[in-house]
Amino acid sequence: MTAKVSIRGLYKIFGPNDKAMVDKVRNGLTKPELLEQHQHVLGLEDINVEMQSGEITVIMGLSGSGKSTLIRHLNRLIDPTAGEILVDGQDVMQLGPSDLRELRRKMMSMVFQKFALLPHKTVLQNAEMPLSIQGREQSEMDREARKWLNRVGLDGFEDRFPSQLSGGMQQRVGIARALTANTDIMLMDEAFSALDPLIRTDMQNLLLELQKELHKTIIFITHDLDEALKLADHLVILKDGAVVQQGEPQHILLNPNDPYIEDFVSDINRARVLRVRSVMKPLAAEVKIDGDVDAKSNLEKIIALSGGDTTKSYRVVEDGQAIGLVEMVDLVRALVPRASGTK
């Protein structure tokens, strides 16, 4: 599978003489040294990420880690200092202004943390915006915008103004707007971070539901590990502008390769996040089977099923096929974060 979006050797340095600084950083100058000796800020350092078509790639990091800078490179709201950004094999850096606009209109839509809706336009007009920029027919814009507003659960709110809606509903408008653009790629910049926890969960579920039927390439930025683990097909962890680890989220959870990630991982409810598939072993004939479990269920469910009995074993089933075996002993062991260095 070729990647929908690939970022190769991307550097971003903030300062008047950024191009000259790239080589210094390549030769091993660190972020504090660069700031002290040359008064330039290292934003992103040698980022290489492949984002697969139809997957949700989550980029996670704390504030200041460069994640919002990174996502803005994809549609070139920020220009990189060095490196390549390929979308469907085309280098975005080579695009002229009008081709770039075309890319932003037809290939990538974006959802913002602070919603960024037009306050003087109605919900319907906001959802129509991507199409009206392209000068489409009013009837077509209406049909598309209403369809997606309906899909995100905003029926009957078409003629309201954004300020009359709650934060969660405003972000639904933001998502409807991005969907109306009908692009393959959706960039979501901390899209749910400004929302209340309960509403955030709703929105995450809505996104997963939409993704199940639309199979878009979603690049999602967050600082919340729980959210990242819930949504990610591919998880990229950023720290100080560099990728610390990336891969399948369950794998990162079980094999953190950096103390920074271990810190992150130690706080979360592993039983809820880890899935049976991640802790199962190959089927073995001699083990007594106490029942069947779905590969996608989380460990919490299995613990409830077993009633806390660690001697039990279950067969793991996916799409009606037995694909592995999970022993309660292994499962309980997976709940404890590994200490550093004992991999």
Partner: protein, 344 residues
Amino acid sequence: MARYEGLFDALGLREWCDADKTEAPMSMAQLLAQASGGSEEATGPVLPFPSLDTLNEACARIGQTRDLTEGIEQGFLAIRGQLKFVLDPLTQPLSWMLDGALWVFETAPWWFMMPLLILVSWFVSKSRGVTLFVAFVLFFFAAIDHYNVAMQTLAIVFVCTGLSVGFGVPIGIGMSKSDTAQRMIVPILDLLQTLPTFVYLIPLIFLFSVTESKLFGIAIILYAIVPVIRLTDLGIRLVDKDVIEAANAFGMTNRQKLVRVELPLALPNIMAGVNQTIMMSLAMVVIASLVSAPGLGVLVLRGIRNLELGVGIVAGLGIVLLAVILDRVSKAALARVDKQRNTH
């Protein structure tokens, strides 16, 4: 006298100084001294500041301060011909517009004009109270026989405000897009705003004939255009960066961004600027009556010249009433724009 003579002697400049000396008194102080018959030493401070006039006493070759003002005047007169050649045709439409507006406001009968103005204020403000107040003020003007002068003032204010907005908003947009432009224009705006209003009139009188209406038109516009420029610039710069980013992310062109995002979001600020512009052109219209602008200002001027207290006060209060109705109507329009997007 001539305390600095020694200095010039010491520098060996005496000959140069006295090269074309005349005995005629050259400064006001010398004239006064001569008139009082005193050739004796003046009893000024022991060491006066070596200003141009003082140095001139010691050395005739150094110019007096009077020569500076004289030089400015001569310089202006020297380029006056060319300036007039360029500016006269450029500003001629302003005269036509002002004369046209004055003609329309004066010749339209009161039973047509008054209902029209009341209707306009209703459509702009959509507020019953404001409209009633406008009606009351118009009837009051008519009742005390000030209807015609009030209409003249209104005509001038409308034309000058319209032109100020027409030029000011694009200038403000340009300023908001370029920091260099902003750095260059802001000092000019400061100058226009702080220059005493009478000083505007002086070069204009030299350039154009006093009978032309563009003379006061230019003075009013120069004075009143400042707030609309400033607030357009400010309004566009204050537009939410997130919304601008969204506009970029969805591929808006610069033009689309300006028309669909920046101007609508800056509208409350621009409207506040328009309101200020109206107020300032109304203030200037009085001073402009010095250079033949018709309207209530003429009556104020008559009040001052002839010490006709009543005439001056009634005309002055009339201007206040005009200011209040223009302010209320434009503020009501502004409030309507704000309300439409914030509450329901």
